[in-house]
C-alpha cells in the first residue's frame, strides 16, 4: 500500500519537475530578445555592439533613460496612446461580442454572406486602403468643420480620428463568434423560458461565460492600437496628438539609430502591454476554477 502511494508521489514529482524543466527552457528562448533589450538599455554605448557581445553591462548606466525622456514629450504620447487604446478596447469589447454572439446563436437571412463579407475586409492590405480611408476620415460629415460633403478637416487630428477608422471590429466578431459557438444552447433556452430579453441573455448569460475570450480580445485590441504607427501618423497633424510609437522615431534618423535611448524608450513603451497582459490573464485562471460554462 504505502509503497504504491510513494510511487504515485514520486511520479507526480517527476511530472512536475519535467513540466518545470520544459517551462524554463522555453521561457529562456522566448524571453531572450526582451531581456537583451532591457539589458541593452542599461549599457554604455561602447558595450552595445561589442564583439564578443557583452550580455551583462560592466557598468549600469541610466543615461539612456534620462536622455529618452528628455528627447520627446513621452508623457503626452502615453496619454494619447492610453486614451486611444482604452476607448478602442471598450468599444471593441462591447460591440464585437454583441455581433459575435448574434452570428453564433441566431439565424437570420444572409447570415453567412454577411459574415463572409466582414471577414473579407481583413484580406486587403491596409496600405492600399490608406488613401481612401484618409479621405473618409477627412470628409466625415459634420465633424471638424465639415458639412454633409466635407469642407473642413473632419476627423483629422482628433481622438475620434485616431480611434474610429482603426477599430478592426471584424477581428473581434470572428473571435467571439468562434467562442460563443461552444456555448450550450440549453443555457440560452433556459434563460428565455425564465422570460429574459435577448439583450439580457447576452449580458447576463453569454458575457460572463466568455470572460477568457473577452480578456483575449482586450489584450489584442489594446496592443494593436498601442503598436500602431502608420495610421496615427497619417491622421494627426500636430506633435501634441502623436502616440508612443511615433515617439520612438525620435531616436531614428534616415541612416542611423540612437540605440541606447531607443532601447530604453522601447522598454518603457512596452511595459503597459506587459501590464495589460498580466492583468487580463488572471481571468484564464478563474475560468478553470469556476469551470467556465456549466450546463
Amino acid at each position: 500500500m504505502s509503497e504504491g502511494v510513494e510511487r504515485v508521489r514520486g511520479l507526480r514529482f517527476l511530472r512536475t519537475a519535467g513540466i518545470y524543466a520544459v517551462l524554463i527552457v522555453v521561457a529562456f528562448v522566448m524571453s531572450l530578445p526582451f531581456s537583451w533589450m532591457v539589458l541593452s538599455s542599461f549599457k554604455p554605448n561602447s558595450e552595445l555592439f561589442s564583439y564578443p557581445p557583452v550580455w551583462i553591462p560592466t557598468r549600469w548606466v541610466l543615461d539612456h533613460y534620462i536622455r529618452a525622456f528628455e528627447a520627446a514629450p513621452f508623457g503626452r504620447y502615453f496619454f494619447n496612446s492610453a486614451v486611444t487604446g482604452i476607448s478602442t478596447t471598450v468599444i471593441n469589447l462591447f460591440f464585437t461580442s454583441l455581433a459575435g454572439f448574434a452570428f453564433a446563436k441566431y439565424d437570420f437571412p444572409y447570415k453567412n454572406l454577411i459574415f463572409f463579407a466582414l471577414i473579407a475586409t481583413m484580406m486587403i492590405p491596409f496600405h492600399v486602403i490608406l488613401v481612401p480611408l484618409f479621405l473618409v476620415a477627412k470628409n466625415f460629415p459634420f465633424a471638424g468643420g465639415n458639412g454633409l460633403w466635407g469642407g473642413g478637416t473632419g476627423l483629422l487630428n482628433t481622438y475620434p480620428g485616431l480611434v474610429l477608422p482603426h477599430l478592426l471590429p471584424v477581428f473581434g466578431v470572428f473571435l467571439t463568434r468562434q467562442f460563443f459557438m461552444g456555448l450550450p444552447d440549453d443555457l440560452i433556452d433556459a434563460a428565455r423560458i425564465d422570460g429574459a430579453s435577448e439583450y439580457r441573455i447576452y449580458w447576463t448569460v453569454a458575457l460572463p461565460a466568455a470572460k477568457p475570450v473577452l480578456a483575449t480580445l482586450a489584450i489584442f485590441s489594446f496592443s494593436n492600437v498601442w503598436d500602431d504607427f502608420l495610421w496615427p501618423l497619417v491622421v494627426t497633424t500636430s506633435q501634441s496628438m502623436r502616440t508612443v510609437q511615433i515617439g520612438l522615431q525620435v531616436f531614428q534618423s534616415q541612416h542611423s539609430v540612437e540605440w541606447g535611448p531607443l532601447m530604453a524608450a522601447t522598454v518603457a513603451v512596452t511595459m503597459p502591454l506587459v501590464v495589460v497582459f498580466v492583468l487580463n490573464q488572471r481571468s484564464f485562471v478563474q475560468g478553470v476554477t469556476s469551470s467556465g460554462i456549466k450546463g
Binding site: G147, L156, Q239, Q254, V257, W259
Partner: protein, 419 residues
C-alpha cells in the same frame, strides 16, 4: 426641421470662422521636416522658429516632423486630401515624381530674385532639377566614398596616407588586405553591396565615362560598353581572394568596418558618425579616400531639401520661410544636427565640417559629385538594375546580359508611358 437648422447654423459658423481667419494679418506657413531625429527637432523648435517669428511677426510657421520611412504615405494622403503643407522636405529622388505630377512650384524665379543664393548653393541646386527647372533648395548632403582602416593598411605594408585612386589600385589593395582562414574570410579586402548595389556600382559607371540615362531621361544608357566594363570590374571585387558573395549586414547600424570584418567599404558620413559613437576606439583608424577615377573621378552624392507645393495659398510668405530655413545660419545648425554635409559653399569652413578630416574628405569629394537621375521612372529603373546586378554578382548571368535585361525592362516601361 431642427436638424436642418443645426446644419445651417454649423455651416454659417464655419464660413464665418474661415473668413475671420482670412481677414487676420498673420499668414500661416505649414512646413514638414523629413525625419524625427531629436537634435534636428531641437534646433528647429528652440532656435529657428523663435528667431523667425521674432523677425517676421506677420508670418507664423507651423512645423511637423515626419519619419523618413513614412514620408511617402504621409505626403500622398495629404495631397489627396488637399491638406498638403506649403513646404516639405524630402530627398532629391522625390523631385521627378512630384514635379511631373505638377504639384510642385518651380523655384527658379524666386532664386533669381534672391541675391547670392544661386552662387552659394552652386551645383547642389541641380540635385532638384527636373526638365530644366529647379524644384528643391538643398538642406544637407550625403555621399559615399571609400572608407578604410589605417591600422590594417599598416599591417599589410600599405601606406595609409596614400589610398587607392584607380580601379587597379583598389583591386590590388583589396587583394593585399584580405585575410582568410580555411575557406572563410577573417577579413574581406573590400565589401561592396550585393543587393541595393546601384549606389555602389554607379560611381564605377561614371568613372568609366558611362551614363545611366540620356540627359532628357528618354534613353536608357546603362547597357553601354562602359557600363558593362564597370559591372565586370564590380563583380571582380567578389574574387575568391578578396571577399565572399555575402552581404555584410551592419550590426545595429554599426558598419562591419568597425568590427574589423572588412578592411574597406563604401560608406556615408552618417555611418562614420555611428562608428565614432559606438566604436570610439576604432574611429581614429578609419580614413576616407577621395573619389576613385578612371576616365574621370566620380562619386555618388545625394541631397535632401525643401520643396514648395504648387497649391500653397501664400507663396510670398512661403518663400520668405524657405529663404530663412536655408540661410547660412539655419543650415549651419541643421547640418550639424543631422551630421550632414552643408550645401552652401560658404559653409565649408564651419566647425563640424572642418574639425574632422573625414568630413573634409567628403566635402572635397563634392567636386566629383554625381546624382541619380531625376526621372519619373527612376525607382523602377533602380529596382530593375539592382535585381540584375545581384544576379550578375551571384554568377547567374553575365554582366553584359544582366545590364541588357534590365535596360530592356526599363525601355519597355518607357514605351508604355510614352503612349
Amino acid at each position: 426641421m431642427k436638424r436642418l437648422l443645426a446644419v445651417v447654423l454649423i455651416a454659417a459658423i464655419t464660413l464665418l470662422t474661415s473668413f475671420a481667419a482670412g481677414a487676420s494679418e498673420v499668414a500661416t506657413v505649414r512646413v514638414w521636416f523629413a525625419g524625427t531625429a531629436e537634435p534636428m527637432m531641437r534646433v528647429v523648435n528652440e532656435q529657428l522658429l523663435p528667431a523667425f517669428h521674432q523677425a517676421h511677426p506677420g508670418i507664423r510657421i507651423e512645423v511637423d516632423f515626419i519619419p523618413w520611412n513614412e514620408l511617402s504615405p504621409k505626403l500622398l494622403t495629404s495631397f489627396a486630401g488637399n491638406v498638403a503643407p506649403d513646404l516639405f522636405m524630402h530627398g532629391q529622388a522625390a523631385t521627378a515624381g512630384f514635379a511631373s505630377a505638377g504639384v510642385l512650384e518651380p523655384l527658379d524665379e524666386y532664386l533669381e530674385k534672391s541675391p547670392g543664393m544661386l552662387e552659394d548653393f552652386g551645383a547642389s541646386l541641380d540635385a532638384g532639377l527636373y526638365e530644366g527647372k529647379r524644384y528643391m533648395i538643398p538642406v544637407y548632403g550625403s555621399g559615399t566614398l571609400l572608407a578604410y582602416r589605417a591600422d590594417f593598411y599598416e599591417e599589410v605594408g600599405l601606406d595609409p596616407n596614400n589610398p587607392p585612386r584607380t580601379w587597379e589600385e583598389l583591386r590590388e589593395s583589396a587583394l593585399k588586405l584580405a585575410r582568410k582562414r580555411g575557406n572563410r574570410f577573417e577579413r574581406e579586402g573590400i565589401s561592396v553591396r550585393i543587393a541595393a548595389a546601384q549606389q555602389d556600382w554607379s560611381p564605377f559607371l561614371w568613372q568609366n565615362g558611362g551614363e545611366l540615362f540620356s540627359e532628357d531621361g528618354k534613353q536608357v544608357l546603362f547597357d553601354s560598353p562602359e557600363a558593362i566594363e564597370a559591372l565586370e570590374f564590380y563583380v571582380s571585387l567578389f574574387d575568391d581572394a578578396i571577399a565572399d558573395k555575402r552581404e555584410n549586414q551592419p550590426i545595429g547600424n554599426l558598419p562591419v568596418l568597425a568590427a574589423g570584418a572588412v578592411a574597406q567599404e563604401f560608406t556615408t558620413v552618417e555611418n562614420l558618425k555611428t562608428i565614432a559613437t559606438y566604436a570610439p576606439d576604432v574611429y581614429p583608424n578609419v580614413r576616407v579616400a577621395p573619389p576613385l577615377t578612371r576616365v574621370q573621378p566620380a562619386a555618388w552624392y545625394s541631397f535632401a531639401g525643401f520643396f514648395m507645393a504648387k497649391q500653397s495659398a501664400n507663396k510670398e510668405a512661403t518663400w520668405e520661410v524657405l529663404q530663412f530655413l536655408t540661410s547660412p545660419e539655419a543650415l549651419e545648425a541643421l547640418t550639424y544636427s543631422l551630421s550632414g554635409l552643408p550645401p552652401r559653399a560658404s559653409l565649408a569652413g564651419v566647425p563640424h565640417v572642418a574639425e574632422d578630416p573625414n568630413v573634409i574628405a567628403f566635402m572635397d569629394g563634392l567636386s566629383a559629385a554625381r546624382f541619380n537621375p531625376n526621372i519619373p521612372i527612376w525607382v523602377n529603373a533602380r529596382d530593375a538594375l539592382e535585381r540584375q546586378i545581384e544576379r550578375a554578382i551571384r554568377g547567374i548571368v553575365s554582366p553584359a546580359e544582366a545590364l541588357r535585361t534590365a535596360a530592356d525592362e526599363v525601355r519597355q516601361l518607357l514605351a508604355d508611358l510614352g503612349n
